[in-house]
């Protein structure tokens, strides 16, 4: 079967075997920021944004992704021009091995898009599905707070 989907504004048509997940499809299309971690919705390394909500792409059967519009971290910025969130993660020292970082950033983006001034509890809640084995989370929470502050200053 063939599905059509939009990733970061780019339209794709994909031929499927039928037993792939959205994660498999995104990686095959070259969106390598979307990581395979646990494959069962526990670690958040495969996080993408669909309809404004951060979701586990490993839990979405690819045949059901027809017509979806998906955002991965590649959409936020690149090495030449990082987004406010990406820069905040660097400045706060919230990155170590980097494997979880795309998922962390997308969960943070979904939170800040909905709640521009989140409390610490709201940040913890939004990131509760993203596991990090390196940093201990403190700097990640600080990075989201820093990004929220900078985004507020931009709009002020």
């Amino acid at each position: 079967m063939t599905i059509s989907l939009t990733v970061n504004g780019n339209a794709h048509e994909v031929e499927l075997e039928g037993n792939e997940t959205l994660l498999d499809v995104l990686r095959a299309l070259g969106y390598k920021s979307v990581k395979y971690g646990c494959g069962e919705g526990a670690c958040g390394a495969c996080t993408v944004i669909i309809d404004g909500k951060a979701v586990n792409s490993c839990l979405i059967p690819a045949p059901t992704a027809d017509g979806l519009s998906i955002i991965t971290v590649e959409d936020l910025g690149d090495v030449q021009k990082l987004s406010v969130l990406q820069q905040a993660f660097i400045d706060a020292g919230a990155v170590q091995c980097g494997f979880c970082t795309p998922g962390m950033i997308l969960s943070s983006k979904a939170l800040l898009d909905r709640t521009p001034r989140p409390t610490e509890d709201e940040i913890k809640d939004a990131l509760d599905g993203n596991l990090c084995r390196c940093t201990g989370y403190v700097q990640i929470i600080e990075a989201v707070q820093l990004a929220a502050e900078r985004l507020q200053n931009q709009t002020a």
Binding site: T21, G41, A54, V55, P61, D128, G129
Partner: protein
């Protein structure tokens, strides 16, 4: 993980169309709501999905003081909706919030979890305590209360072709209080035990007591002998201890690799004692 090889996804315009497709190839055709149950399905023969998303079964409506929630409403929407937070001391919202992670809650639907309560029993526990009604399309609309629905495995309560369209939660009097608790070793872990308690408190007397345990057995179960201890009584510390002991003693407990049966019984006693002391020992303030 085994993932079904899906060959066809049919988008439907009506529940009647969905039912027709499900009945055309029983066993090989499944329902697509949030999608997670498809990923975890062990049905190797499943090759066709009926996509219910166009039916827009994701509305949260207030109805005669209660709620009517579309079966495809994702849990995150239950967590944030003021109408759900304000209903029945917020136990449905709280149960939804204690289910999985934010990423899971953004995908999982209320209907999906009530029909498959085995991994995440939180909302099913609350639904049974709230006397929810399942609106099921079987060629015609039928309503089945949660107690009847959970008498047997949902696969038996829902023969092929049946579709849960909405779940209604009845109006609750102001004198009725509810509490929900979950125990797990971390915030997001699968529940070791969930408890939902409801009771009407009038002039210090408890009536219509409902105590539901989830995660002790595959389906949520009422602890009727513990309920009987409280019925028509004024809550006292000895009564709380007696009720907690009765609940622990009579609760059915299935095998759980994470803890012994006795541990789960002790957990039940401790959690119920806490709920009764915190929620039902103070004067009613109304809603």
């Amino acid at each position: 993980m085994h993932i079904c090889k899906i060959k066809h996804v049919h988008s439907v315009a009506t529940t009647a169309d969905a039912r027709r497709l499900l009945l055309a190839r029983p066993g090989q055709t499944g329902i697509l709501a949030g999608g997670t149950s498809t990923i975890f399905s062990h049905k190797k023969e499943l090759d066709t999905l009926v996509d219910l998303r166009p039916l827009q079964l994701n509305q949260i409506k207030t109805e005669e003081g209660g709620l009517c929630i579309g079966s495809m409403t994702c849990l995150t929407d239950l967590v944030f909706a003021d109408t759900v937070k304000d209903y029945a001391d917020g136990i449905l919202s709280r149960a939804a919030h204690r289910t999985g992670t934010t990423l899971n809650r953004n995908l999982c639907t209320l209907g999906g979890l009530l029909v498959h309560p085995y991994i995440w029993p939180e909302t099913a526990t609350a639904a049974l305590a709230l006397n929810a009604e399942f609106h099921i399309y079987r060629g015609t609309e039928e309503q089945v209360d949660a107690a009847t629905f959970y008498e047997q495995a949902p696969a038996k309560s829902l023969p092929c072709g049946d579709i849960v369209t909405d779940i209604s939660f009845p109006s609750q009097p102001a004198s009725r209080r509810f509490a929900f608790e979950k125990y797990a070793s971390t915030h997001n872990e699968f529940a070791w035990l969930t408890l939902a308690v409801g009771a009407t408190l009038e002039s210090g007397i408890l009536h219509e007591v409902v105590i539901v345990a989830g995660a002790a057995t595959p389906l949520p179960r009422r602890l009727t002998e513990a309920e009987a201890c409280l019925e028509g009584q004024t809550l006292t510390q000895p009564l709380i201890l007696e009720t907690a002991a009765r609940a622990a003693e009579t609760m059915q407990v299935g095998r759980d690799i994470r803890c012994s049966e006795q541990y789960k019984r002790d957990l039940c006693a401790g959690m119920l004692r806490g709920i009764l002391e915190e929620t039902f020992s103070t004067p009613t303030t109304g809603k």
